[in-house]
């Protein structure tokens, strides 16, 4: 009986891995940008993507984001309204002068 329960649980989790839902696939697609997925997870994700255009779109869009951010560090770092205050500038210069002595 215990054995059957365990078997059922294992089968259920295998089914889940091999046929993930959209919520799970959105997470897997993100993970795939950071490391390579295990073969069953990858297979499940790919089969889902064959059938689901929403998830294909989602994947394309986060991939676009991933590439865009990597290629444009200066644009990401730019905060147009933010500048150093004159006091901070003076303080930095003073500390550089003190240290240089």
């Amino acid at each position: 009986m215990k054995f059957l329960k365990r078997l059922a649980a294992a089968l259920k989790s295998a089914c889940r891995t091999l046929s993930p839902n959209c919520r799970e696939v959105s997470r897997l697609q993100s993970e795939a940008l950071d490391h390579s997925l295990s073969a069953p997870k990858r297979t499940g994700m790919r089969m889902h993507l064959l059938l689901c255009r929403w998830c294909r779109r989602y994947g394309k869009q986060i991939h676009f984001l991933h590439e865009a951010v990597r290629g444009h560090p200066d644009e990401v770092n730019e905060l147009p309204q933010q500048t150093l205050s004159p006091e901070a500038r003076e303080r930095f210069k003073q500390s550089l002068r003190d240290r240089a002595k």
């Binding site: 919520r23 779109r57 901070a88």
Partner: protein, 213 residues
């Protein structure tokens, strides 16, 4: 441009030797690179006081290390590299004192876009699923307005989520290094990155791609 080079051979002379870089006036760094470094720190720390402290430390460290800077890279990227290390160090120290992960990031911001139960539990609700973006989203990358929207979206991320996203995606720090630095598991990191991407995607869709241009 070419004509100018031909008629003026001096334009072809090499960049000033490393010596002049080494002897440059450190106070000039504050004028020329201060704002850039401050913004760089602010994006990563979201705290003006801390950002100022980091920039000051960077200048002092640069002063000390000036002899070893042989002008191999541009002064600006040299200073930014020092600052990047200082910021990672800051998080390393902070990570020892307080747990970096908090529970609220486990709540999924897109919950309302998936079918909550039944046979199709976890599927996109079709009307709320991802929209088709323009056929060439890459064309937006030269637009200042696009990046302004991006920054606006990124500022709305919770601080910790934004920190790991910037470390991983902008600064390209390895996953394992981030986990060691912040004392979190890889699984935690992936959930946080997933949440960042999800929220940014949604925000850009609402505020940029979904709008008629």
């Amino acid at each position: 441009m070419n004509d100018n080079l031909k008629s003026n051979p001096a334009a072809l002379s090499p960049a000033p030797p490393a010596e002049s870089v080494r002897l440059s006036d450190p106070e000039r760094w504050v004028e020329e690179h201060g704002d850039y470094l401050f913004k760089f720190a602010l994006v990563r720390l979201r705290d003006a006081t801390k950002a100022e402290d980091m920039v000051q430390e960077t200048f002092l460290a640069a002063l000390k290390a000036r002899q070893s800077f042989a002008g191999r890279s541009a002064e600006k990227s040299w200073l930014a590299a020092i600052l990047k290390h200082k910021i990672l160090d800051h998080y390393r120290k902070a990570g020892r004192e307080t747990a970096f992960t908090d529970l609220d990031f486990y709540c999924d911001e897109e919950s309302d876009r998936f079918i909550p139960d039944g046979l199709f539990k976890g599927s996109w609700i079709h009307e709320l699923g991802p929209l088709e973006w323009s056929s060439d989203p890459g064309a937006n990358l030269d637009s200042q307005a696009f990046w302004e929207t991006f920054r606006h979206c990124s500022e709305k991320l919770p601080k910790n989520i934004s920190t790991v996203f910037t470390m991983r995606e902008v600064d390209g720090v390895e996953s394992k290094e981030i986990c060691a630095l912040l004392n979190i598991t890889e699984n935690n990191l992936w959930v946080m990155l997933h949440r960042a991407r999800m929220a940014l995607r949604r925000c850009l869709e609402t505020n940029w791609f979904g709008k008629p241009i």
